[in-house]
């Protein structure tokens, strides 16, 4: 009896693994047929008709989820007959998934497009997790994107080489409630005075939080200038020497911060809650129009105001890339091409209040007028004010080094 059961089990296992091999083989065939590298744009359009495209990225913003699964999906269905779907997944999980797929030798995964930038792009590209170069193939790259913009060529100072296409522009801004504190610090020195006037009610998210890290880089730019960092090596001693004035400033700021700078809020969402609860008087965001959305959905008072430093605030672009094992590369290319068009960038600007990536001088007069018509809402700076106070990001590999130095030198000092 036992022997019979054992042999049945073994047989089942064998059938199971054979079936597994079979599916793997079948999937390989479809991906071979769909490499768009040597297809013309018309062929790519033809190949993408009636297909599914899955876009993976952070899913914590319901407005963006609705824009992608609503406006963008409808646009792609109508114009290109593509079934577009946005799937919420953290970039770390996306990269973990792609790494596993690569390790397992999979060549047809489930992710087509990825929302990515900076460090993550750098490591994904280095590890061969991305498909490319593909941006040259997209007609709208030439039609709408400024080819000489450093943010088109480099992402956190690392060459893009056609492996990702711009998606939206972000910029660090600070904001407070004018009914509570009318003054808006215009420099690091003024920020120090502001903190002294409101002791214990100013702070920033603990690094390596994305926003907190950008804020500290902004302070570094304020106190040390930004040019010297653009080609700096990621050598800890060198970086530390260069940012010493910023470290001194942050240490001087510490006693006036929330909890005297002994601890910092764990992340930007924690700081958001503290600001909404009135526990701190100033907040910051990487979304330049956050205040307008907050006022619109009722989480912020309509007396809130956005401000930047006179010397400028760090801005960066976030991008769309294609997974190395994307099951539908032609479809992904068509979708990306559509998202960088003036049409969809306009809806992104109007519905999500995101800085568009289209170059102003490449727009027709009608398109320009449409962009100008958009009502950004209350408490924000105009696109022109933001862009004239925009500083480039640092090289991606400097970011973790600075975060490490901050943890050692600034917290509780």
């Amino acid at each position: 009896m036992k022997r019979i059961i054992l042999s049945l089990l073994l047989a089942a296992v064998m059938v199971f693994s054979l079936a597994a091999c079979g599916t793997e083989k079948a999937e390989t065939n479809t991906s071979d047929a769909a490499d768009p590298a040597d297809m013309s744009w018309d062929e790519i359009l033809e190949a993408s008709k009636g297909t599914d495209v899955k876009f993976y990225g952070w899913g914590g913003d319901e407005n963006r989820n609705n824009w992608l699964n609503g406006t963008v999906a409808d646009y792609l269905k109508e114009n290109y007959d593509i079934n577009f779907e946005y799937v919420g997944m953290d970039i770390n999980d996306i990269l973990a998934k792609l790494t596993s797929e690569k390790e397992a030798g999979e060549d047809t995964g489930s992710i087509d497009m990825i929302w990515i930038n900076g460090e993550n792009f750098y490591s994904a590209k280095e590890n061969g997790l991305l498909y490319g170069p593909f941006t040259d193939k997209l007609p709208n790259t030439e039609a709408y994107i400024d080819q000489n913009d450093p943010e088109t060529l480099n992402d956190f100072c690392k060459p893009i080489d056609g492996y990702e296409s711009p998606y939206a522009k972000a910029q660090l801004v600070m904001y407070n409630d004018s009914a509570v504190t009318p003054e808006t610090p215009k420099s690091a020195a003024e920020l120090l005075e502001y903190a002294k006037a409101n002791p214990g009610k100013v702070t920033y998210p603990a690094l390596p939080d994305f926003t907190g890290s950008a804020f500290v880089r902004n302070i570094i730019y304020e106190t040390c200038g930004w040019e010297q960092f653009q080609d700096m090596e990621a050598d800890k001693d060198k970086v530390k020497e260069a940012i010493q004035p910023a470290l001194d400033y942050l240490k001087e700021l510490n006693p006036y911060l929330w909890n005297e700078g002994k601890t910092f809020p764990a992340d930007s969402t924690a700081l958001d809650k503290m600001f909404q609860d009135g526990e701190v008087v100033m907040n910051m965001s990487y979304g330049p129009f956050t205040v307008a959305s907050g006022i619109a959905d009722g989480t912020l008072k309509d007396t809130c105001q956005t401000f930047v430093f006179d010397k400028g605030n760090i801005g960066n672009t976030n991008y769309m890339a294609i997974a190395y094992d994307a099951p539908n590369k032609p479809g992904a290319m068509v979708a990306i091409n559509a998202i960088i068009s003036a049409d969809l960038q306009l809806t992104q600007y109007a519905e999500l209040k995101e800085l568009p990536v289209v170059a102003q001088d490449k727009l027709s007069d009608e398109e320009k007028a449409e962009f100008d018509k958009v009502d950004l809402g209350k408490g924000v700076l105009t696109q022109a004010e933001l862009l004239s106070h925009r500083l480039p990001e640092m090289p991606a590999d400097l970011v973790p080094v600075i975060e490490e130095i901050w943890t050692e030198e600034v917290v509780g000092k």
């Binding site: 091999c21 919420g88 596993s100 397992a104 009722g298």
Partner: protein, 263 residues
């Protein structure tokens, strides 16, 4: 008398401790702004409830797939646990001790580590991004609890009454079905509920094994909680808890009917 009052007081305090946060969460679902030190929200909004029902997350589809997945895991997990418990507690097969120890091993590996490791294997055997793959991964997470519950229950119930039935002429299957199972039902209900809630609340393992293709409520909810939108998180949390309680009520009704039917 005094003792009774003290007990009642403890009961009331416990109920308040449990219910108060739930009430606060319910209030948060319609809160716009609620700054300190206001006792009640400063402004209210219907934004979050509207988002739940009319947003792009397709709440009914997501709920249906979550419930089907968790129910599948609950039933399979309990069946496996029941068989394991019978083997070790009633038939006392060789290595029963080893099996009961091994059943707890998955608890020692953190979920994230397990998920990342098994994902590669699932892809290799062609189960990556499939329902079957997610069910297997959830089963591994749920089985230690199911098996422990069923082993304790089986040991407590024993097999003497089943033997009695066999003495009276029932075949082993009939004895198990008519005498064994009804006495195990309370344990089966606990095991099903436990496995259900474990599967229902899995996030990272579902994400990696399902690759975003298998959609569950937790997958939609967790990003909103992480993004710090308290009102929207509360709406999803209320949906999560409410739907789980509803399913538990259904499980319990079914089991009770079975118990009454067998008596």
């Amino acid at each position: 008398m005094k003792n009774k009052t003290a007990l009642r007081l403890i009961l009331v305090i416990t109920v308040i401790i449990i219910l108060l946060p739930v009430c606060v969460m319910l209030l948060w679902t319609v809160t716009g702004r609620w700054p300190w030190p206001s006792l009640l929200p400063e402004s209210y909004t219907g934004r979050t409830v509207a988002e739940l029902f009319t947003g792009s997350s397709k709440i009914y589809e997501v709920l249906a797939s979550s419930i089907i997945l968790a129910a599948l895991v609950a039933v399979l997990g309990t069946a496996i646990a029941l068989m394991t418990a019978r083997a070790t507690e009633v038939y006392r097969i060789k290595g029963a001790k080893l099996i009961s120890f091994a059943a707890l091993l998955p608890l020692m590996v953190p979920g994230t580590v397990f998920a990342m490791g098994i994902q590669v294997y699932l892809i290799r055997i062609g189960l990556g991004d499939t329902l079957a793959g997610v069910v297997i991964v959830h089963l591994v997470a749920a089985l230690p609890y199911c098996i422990t519950i069923m082993m304790d229950m089986t040991a407590a119930v024993g097999d003497s009454l089943e033997e009695q039935a066999q003495v009276l002429g029932a075949n082993p299957a009939r004895a198990f079905w008519s005498v064994g199972i009804p006495r195990l039902l309370p344990g089966i209900l606990s095991s099903i509920s436990m496995a259900y809630i474990i599967s229902y609340s899995q996030y990272f393992t579902t994400l990696l094994a399902g690759g975003g293709k298998i959609k569950t409520l937790a997958l939609v909810m967790v990003p909103y909680i992480q993004s710090g939108d308290r009102a929207l998180s509360s709406v999803y949390a209320v949906t999560f808890v409410g739907s789980a309680l509803m399913v538990f009520a259904i499980f319990e009704a079914i089991i009770h009917r079975l118990i009454r039917g067998s008596e």
